[in-house]
């Protein structure tokens, strides 16, 4: 295992943690206009993620920073190649961050902030999946490592399918979180949403799998041809069954939430194994334009220093993150909102 390979899986891990953690608060944002009807319910929905969403989002910032440092060519290609999509994600995240912070301080504009919270959650939830779809499918590039396709080529059916699948997974995950944190009618509605969105996700996931096997055989061959691929397939299967089982039980909210978290781990693992040792494969351009780990990795010293930083930093971050989650455990009450 070279340092560069370690970094490939570390970046995958950072982004997976991001999807698990920010995923549920993005999901709550997408559900917000549908499940939270009274002012009190809206308050609970926002306060359920209020103390933690900001920290969750830092996983994306760290993940993007890690790609920049460890695989600069990949960072440069994706961010400039997926330009408009990346900017839409950015605008979404900005509006969402500000709306969460300003909503309770600003009665006059509350409809504006409610709308911004919903849209700012929906757009990134959808587009992050689309970007992943393109990364699995491959994109046309030149030898310098620049994207040579058009914006519309990014909106191909396969990537859109991955995007919508991801959206429903995130919403399911968010509904499970809201069910854990809420009471009364909001709780009941969250449970109902969780059920509907989970089954939509399940159907879409089957379609995505079939589409991958049929149109991106490189990825599926990699997964089926490697023990690690079978491992993540097994993780996914167990997590799906466990989540379904917990969804049928009263009081299984937290366990079904953990179940959807493990589903995300399984899917992310499959995607990573499917692309390894390429990060972004070429599609429609010569194979030497592919952004492979070996070709794009930073120098040895950079990777080593970063690894040391990560090994020191990650456990500390996880420890105090756990402390803060623990501080805000239990059902969220309307009175818990910010002063």
């Amino acid at each position: 295992m070279t340092l560069a390979n370690i970094w490939f899986f570390l970046v995958a891990l950072l982004l997976t943690v991001y999807v698990i953690l920010d995923g549920f608060d993005l999901g709550v944002g997408v559900l917000y206009p549908f499940v939270a009807r009274t002012e009190g319910e809206k308050r609970v929905a926002r306060a359920s993620i209020g103390p933690i969403w900001d920290g969750n989002e830092v996983w994306l910032i760290s993940g993007a920073g890690a790609i920049f440092a460890a695989f600069p060519m990949v960072y440069a290609m994706t961010f400039s190649g997926f330009y408009l999509a990346i900017m839409l994600v950015l605008f979404g995240l900005i509006l969402r961050a500000v709306s969460l912070e300003f909503r309770h301080k600003d009665e006059g504009w509350k409809r504006v902030w409610d709308g911004a919270f919903f849209l700012g959650s929906l757009v990134p939830s959808m587009l992050v999946g689309c970007a992943l779809g393109n990364v699995i499918r491959g994109v046309p590039m030149d030898l310098r490592g620049d994207y040579t396709g058009t914006f519309l080529q990014l909106l191909n059916p396969y990537s859109l399918l991955v995007g919508v699948t991801g959206l429903f997974l995130i919403v399911t995950h968010g509904a499970a979180w809201l069910a854990v944190k809420s009471e009364g009618e909001l709780h009941v509605r969250a449970l109902r949403c969780r059920k509907i969105t989970f089954w939509v996700f399940a159907v879409l996931a089957v379609a995505t799998s079939a589409a991958t096997i049929l149109t991106v055989s490189r990825a599926s061959d990699n997964v089926f041809g490697r023990p690690l691929g079978w491992f993540f397939l097994a993780v996914l299967a167990v997590a799906l069954l466990y989540t379904i089982w917990q969804m049928t039980k009263v009081g299984g909210e937290l366990k079904s939430f953990l179940g959807s978290a493990v589903i995300i781990i399984g899917l992310a693992g499959i995607a990573a194994v499917g692309n390894f040792p390429e990060i972004v494969p070429a599609r429609g351009t010569p194979p030497e334009t592919s952004l492979t780990i070996a070709r794009t990795a930073s120098g040895h010293l950079t990777l080593l220093v970063m690894l040391i930083v990560a090994l020191i930093g990650c456990p500390i971050v996880l420890a105090y993150t756990a402390l803060v989650y623990r501080t805000f455990r239990g059902k969220t009450k309307a009175a818990d909102a910010e002063y």
């Binding site: 910032i61 760290s62 960072y75 620049d146 120098g299 950079t302 220093v305 105090y320 009175a335």
Partner: protein
Amino acid sequence: MDAAMLARIQFAFTISYHFIFVPISIGVGMMVVLSEHRYYKSGIPADKAASNFWIKLFTATFAIGVATGITMEFAFGANWANYSRFVGNIFGAPLAAEGLLAFFLESTFLGVLLFGRKKVSRRFYYVSACLVWAGALLSALWIIIANSWMQTPQGYKIEGGRAVLTSFWAAAFNPSTAPRYFHTVASALLMGCFVVAGVCAWYMLKKRHLHFARQAMLWAISVGLVMALAMPLLGHWGALVAAEHQPVKVAAFENVTDTEDGATLWLFGWLTKNDDGTYDTHGIGIPKGLSLILHLNPDARVTGLDSVPAADRPPEPIVFQSYHLMIGLGMLFVLVLLLTLVMHYLKRLENARWLLWSLIACIPLALLAINMGWVSAEVGRQPWIVQGLMRTTDGISPAVSTGEIWTTLGLFGLIYLVLFVAWLRIFVGIIRKGPEDVVEMLEADKVGAPAPAGAGR
């Protein structure tokens, strides 16, 4: 307009906008720590109300600072792909480290500040406030490390058309890191002091919350004066480093066209263009002053702009004026703070309406000074994106069209304008409302305490 210029405009706009909220956050963050420390020690409701007030101003500003900060991280890959490929080995690491070692700290404990008042102990809350502020200071350190490497690159070698790290410590603590970090932090603290002093001045003008205002005012002007006096020294340190490593930038600061012995230090002036592309300076200056402060010798030689070809020189008028505006404002701040302190000890401050209004006016002026400092530092480095290694025009994203940059520039303009209006309304609204009334706060706490009776089930 070409893509490089458009991308520069977009970066300049988004970073200047971001840097409205950063210094206010760092500066008011200090006030949060100080006031929360006071409440932690005393446990008096009035101290709690005071601390809550600063926390509200802090969090409202911090939120928009965080949100607009993501733009900056995305901007390198999106608009500056060639640059990112060239420097990723070195420049990416501090950005990743910022996330892991600083950003997590501030964001996670911000949640406690926002939602934890009734859930955690006074000590936990106080420590959280300290950690948020520490995170902000660390965050600034990593960003200044990254930016300083663009000014005075060290600890690298060029290999296969990219900069590869050879020494982490040499790259991170390159010659300009320390002076620029302390200069930046001091400016942010000064900014915060002006926000605090301005708010207190407004209360004094309106004769409201006077007890609160007197106490905070004294803190703000004491710390502010220390910072305002430290600024020229820290700036001077930075200028000495720049004179050694970026002599052309220093030449542009004072428009030293030809390398000369005994160069002039200009207090203010204007530039007129000559036929050969150089500029003449007109204004008031101290003869031989620049040589004296840079080399402690009035006849020392100062490298001029003529030491490099015309294509390697920054646009002198912008650099000259932004630099001198920054210094002029810095002097003004010392004067205002000194006067305020004197009037405070003469017990005449609260009736000196002109001085109170001056303190309020210093809030936007301090922002202007900070921005002018950055303009002189960044434009002064042009035409280089990394001093001596890569030109700004070579750093762009070949895959991004000018139409796409125009589109996003327009969207940034629109969204940022709306956010600015919203932030200002909220910020001013918090100030208008003022610190909570202690009696009301105690009543509210009594209602809040036995919560299970009402809300829960």
